[in-house]
Point group: C2
Chain length 452, copies 2
């Protein structure tokens, strides 16, 4: 049945694109690849693909085009603006799967540009992916696809070939909704990559053994997918192997904060993370693995003293680090859910996607339903649900525990960029409740972000 599969053009054969394209070859698709870097094309033909020397010649006669370049600027160039751009050669009624992570604003402008150039016939699918190079090559990516029903139908077989069956999310809202979903997920990624460094740096100043502390944190309520994933590199003396460079997550934070500005939405957590990432970039850490940002937290240890913390036992110290992570993850989850609501996403789908992806955290799993309830009940009652369920931790208790961590770090004189931000945001969430704050449900912290 391989001969019933349509010919595909594939533009952008980088770390992710190469794996995705060769997987499609294995699945029996005739795939014609294009990349600006010649040696990659040789590797691709060796893997059974066909090579094209321009975007235009790649797409000619192919009913499906997958575009997996690194940025919106590159997409604009290869699809529309460069000398041998793809669009004029794209067949009538073709499907264009834009898998690059781009701002919602860009993919929506691309849809408009297609119409303005008389190519409304092109079935554009906004379908960023997540999962890394290995899952790309295995055809088990997470994919978040927003498009017209017709475009989804035409693109579905190829989307399925590239994704894990349980992780192909058709996102309601058309072109732009896929990018918005990815963006909201990356709010978690951006904060939790940095929280892993912040936690290990704090543990280091506390004098904990980092290896055993790391193992304990991964089993604790401070768990995040990112912490577990970055831990081996955090513990490596040179933060090796380089699996995800600082510059990669900076592309995402740039999309998040620029889209937030466009939407008039506040992203205090991600903006904080972004400034720290820029600091790392200024230090020359751009090409290094993002786990190496722990260096921004460990420097000065033993040199800014005398310093004197209050925690004496390892258990007390570990609890401070766990409470730091819980507080940060609570606020990054709140920022994610509130941003999703602001851009009109289905919050149940945001939650389901995030807990099963690289943005997952123990706190998100436990508190996420309370966030969704806060939105639903808040809307229904014209306010915000403020009663916590019986036995549930209150926002005040989370604040008190985070406060102890921030207090200790102040005594030890190390920065906790995300932790101190989270504490202030929780304080802002608590303040409007006044005397009733002791009864406030954790989920109600989203009121800081949410448009009431």
């Amino acid at each position: 049945m391989a001969d019933t599969k349509p010919a595909i053009s594939f533009i952008g054969l980088g770390a992710m694109g190469f794996g995705m394209a060769t997987n499609l070859v294995k699945e029996g698709y005739p795939v014609t690849g294009f990349d600006v870097y010649g040696p990659t094309l040789d590797r691709f033909t060796a893997a059974g693909g066909l090579a094209a020397t321009t975007p235009a010649s790649a797409v000619e006669g192919k009913a499906v085009c997958v575009c997996m370049v690194a940025t919106a600027q590159q997409a604009q160039s290869v699809l529309l603006d460069s000398e041998h751009a793809a669009l004029p050669s794209l067949p009538q009624g073709a499907v264009l799967l834009l898998c690059s992570t781009v701002p919602c604003a860009y993919v929506q402008s691309l849809e408009r540009q297609l119409a303005e150039r008389g190519r409304a016939d092109v079935h554009l699918v906004d379908c960023p992916v997540s999962g890394g190079a290995i899952r790309a090559a295995d055809g088990t990516l997470s994919i978040m696809a927003g498009a017209s029903d017709a475009a989804i139908d035409k693109g579905r077989a190829v989307l399925q070939a590239m994704s894990d069956p349980a992780k192909l999310y058709i996102v309601k809202g058309g072109v732009g909704a896929g990018s918005n979903m990815k963006m909201c997920h990356q709010v978690l990624a951006a904060n939790q990559i940095l929280s892993a460094s912040e936690a290990l740096g704090f543990a280091d100043h506390l004098g904990l053994d980092l290896r055993s502390a790391g193992e304990a944190l991964v089993k604790s309520d401070g768990w995040s997918w990112m912490l577990e994933n970055r831990l081996p590199r955090l513990l490596h003396p040179e933060f090796k192997p380089i699996a995800s460079a600082l510059t990669i997550i900076l592309k995402d934070t740039s999309i998040i904060t620029s889209e937030a500005r466009r939407a008039g939405f506040a992203t205090p957590m991600t903006s904080t993370a972004e400034q720290v990432y820029f600091s790392g970039l200024g230090r020359g850490y751009g090409p290094d693995d993002d786990a190496s940002l722990v260096r921004l937290y460990t420097e000065g240890k033993g040199k800014v003293g005398p310093v004197q913390g209050t925690a004496s036992t390892d258990d007390e110290k570990l609890k401070l680090v766990i409470d730091l992570l819980r507080g940060i993850h609570l606020c990054s989850a709140a920022e994610t859910i509130a941003f999703g609501q602001h851009v009109g996403l289905d919050l149940d789908q945001v939650f389901e996607l995030c807990i099963n992806a690289a943005g997952g955290s123990r706190i998100l799993s436990t508190v996420g339903p309370s966030f969704l309830k806060a939105f639903v009940e808040g809307k229904a009652q014209g306010g915000w649900a403020a009663e916590s369920g019986s036995g549930e931790a209150t926002l005040q208790s989370i604040a008190s525990e985070l406060e102890a961590a921030v207090n200790e770090a102040q005594s030890l004189k190390l920065p906790l960029f995300l932790g101190s931000q989270a504490l202030n945001l929780i304080r802002l969430g608590l303040k409007s409740a006044g005397a009733e704050s002791s009864k406030q449900a954790i989920g109600s912290v989203v009121r800081v972000w949410a448009t009431s």
Copy 2:
């Protein structure tokens, strides 16, 4: 009439204390000094003072004791806890002027400890000072004094001898109120010391000539007392002379954020500044002048490219830097005023003190009255005044201009810790106003902080 002046003991002859004590000598007071550092005592006797070898012997028989040590811990030690502590030797009914900058919590605990030790007879005055070593030696400091009426009466002559006649503020609220007033002022100081570095770092990445940019900024709406004061050191290749070390402002941020935690109050601006200060400390910049923090912003310039900003002319670039400063100073002013309200200070007095001191900024002078109005009218109406006066800039316009600066910095890949924080806070302030935000008065941004 010099012989009618009472004998004074003076504990703590550091950079500030030495000037204050020798000024009192010049004013005709018999002053007995104590300091842990012997050579200082020799200098003090050479300047006409008397020297004591313990706090106890210094205060013996003196109706007035001035304490000007560096921290609350030192005050506790010299006054109460050390082997030859002052208290047991302090005469009945003596005045104790605590001029050190300490947390409100500490000076109030000192008042309790005096009572617990049966020394409620001591007239404690909580009177931190501001103004630097030169004004200390001239007897023209700003002093913020909180105490009982009786204690103020007894201490007034010495307070007047140390201060500028227009800058002796008797703060309502008793012991603790003076420290709270100083703390609120230092919110401005802490943010505006750093905003000067952030602005110059931004100007550097924009490619502006720093000397002419600095001169233009000082004349602009981005003016702050700190910017003008730090500018020569910001422009000096080695940030010399060292006039105020990073470690000095870190003592103040520590008081601000720890008192905020105690009060359940959010200080998102000062907390951000504090984390950046901790970063500088970790880099080894602790003993350097605080203007040297511009290094945290200038590094990476020319190395993280290719970067491409949007501003092309010097006027456009300068406007971005001014708009950055305006946004930061707006939010640091809001944090100051709201914190003052939270701890029960007279806001008119907070405003008057701050515009005439090192916390002054053009924005505070113009917007401060709108903040005070927002509190008064907000309270009166059970909400927040939202109508801007005719011709006044709106919060939305401030946000848009700050947004352009943050956007440009993102393109140039440098951190704007305070600027991005301020933008998010203004966004939070705008969000509850919804469609009416275009009419929102600038002063209404305080609603983010204020307990409603």
